[in-house]
Subunit: 209 residues, 2 copies
């Protein structure tokens, strides 16, 4: 199998961290998003959404989207469990992974894609060109700030996002916090819970993946 | 346990359909979103995101978000499998459920909340009041139209979203198509694959849940 990846992009980083936590190594191919590599016909044939990551299995099946790729690897190698242990914890991991994807990652997507000069006309991913909406970029910045505040509050009582389990929800939140730095949003000095957690996650070898 | 629900809202409908397919009946309580029931302090204490559905377990644990609630029930009652059978199908269900949530449900959320008179100042869910962005409503309408077109193309080769398995991805897509009717978007006459599939899903008893 092969993972289509771009080392500088925050979404594929989620998959790389997940794989590093599992101790899984696979072949990767870089798709340079800054040079429009995702628009190349060869890649569009693999993923018509024109996004990375995309995982191509040996039989040619393509799995797109971070969460789906991570789910595939959780199924074929359950240890260490990254998606919860038992129904309640599994539901909590799903809840927070989903929450932080929507508020953190999609908030950042909207904040960045609707403001960056180099993304003019490319405010949404995919084959259709879409103009930026500056008001959305502003609104999304506030959303990202609220995401980090919520994360800080949650971590007042928890070592990780869901209790003492390092999970995919932590990976999503951690990569979203680093992504927020692209628009100069980050953990503030008074968000000490988020800071303590960030430093702990950042010290894991997977954070360098 | 108890499910906080609102019969007229498309998101809790996804959970109701999922439970009906599983043959699970549980206590529900209606939170009238049209009368601001989600803002009541009693409900805000259960779900500070001010959204339904929310599931409260017997020990008081609250599971929020449709996908997390459905995941909980998949874990405690795996049959019939609604999230795939085997690693590849599980990944494909995750991929399409995720895709149709983002393009269909979140597209509709943006199209509706940024245009409806009754949602002025409430363009996002949650405790913070947010002004509408009309340009976003327009952009999101196109996104929803593309969602239905993609669904139609996918169903040219498949009985359901993922092969012959009726899954949570079908539920998400089906509820999103009905939700699109709120802004007068629907399956067009030439989208015959989507129409065939819609009629088949609509004939299932769970579609009335």
């Amino acid at each position: 199998m092969k993972l289509y990846d771009f080392a500088a992009a925050p979404n594929p980083r989620r998959v790389r961290m997940f794989l590093a936590e599992k101790g899984i190594e696979i072949e990767t191919e870089q798709v340079n998003l800054r040079e429009g590599g995702q628009m190349a016909p060869e890649f569009a044939a693999i993923n018509p959404w024109l996004t990375v990551p995309a995982l191509v299995l040996d039989d040619g099946t393509v799995i797109r989207e971070c969460v789906a790729i991570c789910r595939y690897f959780e199924e074929i190698q359950p240890d260490p469990p990254m998606w919860g242990r038992g129904a309640v914890e599994i539901a909590q991991v799903e809840m927070w992974q989903h929450r932080f994807e929507l508020e953190g990652f999609l908030g950042m997507r909207d904040a960045l894609r609707n403001s960056a000069d180099r993304l003019q006309g490319r405010a949404m991913t995919g084959p259709v060109d879409v103009e930026q909406i500056p008001a959305l970029a502003e609104r999304a910045r506030s959303q990202v700030e609220r995401f980090i505040a919520e994360l800080d509050g949650l971590l007042a009582d928890n070592e990780f996002v869901v209790g003492d389990l390092f999970s995919i929800a932590d990976i999503t939140a951690f990569c979203a916090v680093d992504f927020a730095g692209w628009v100069k949003i980050g953990i503030t000095d008074d968000q000490t819970n988020a800071r303590r957690w960030y430093d702990a996650v950042n010290a894991r070898p997977s954070a360098q993946a």
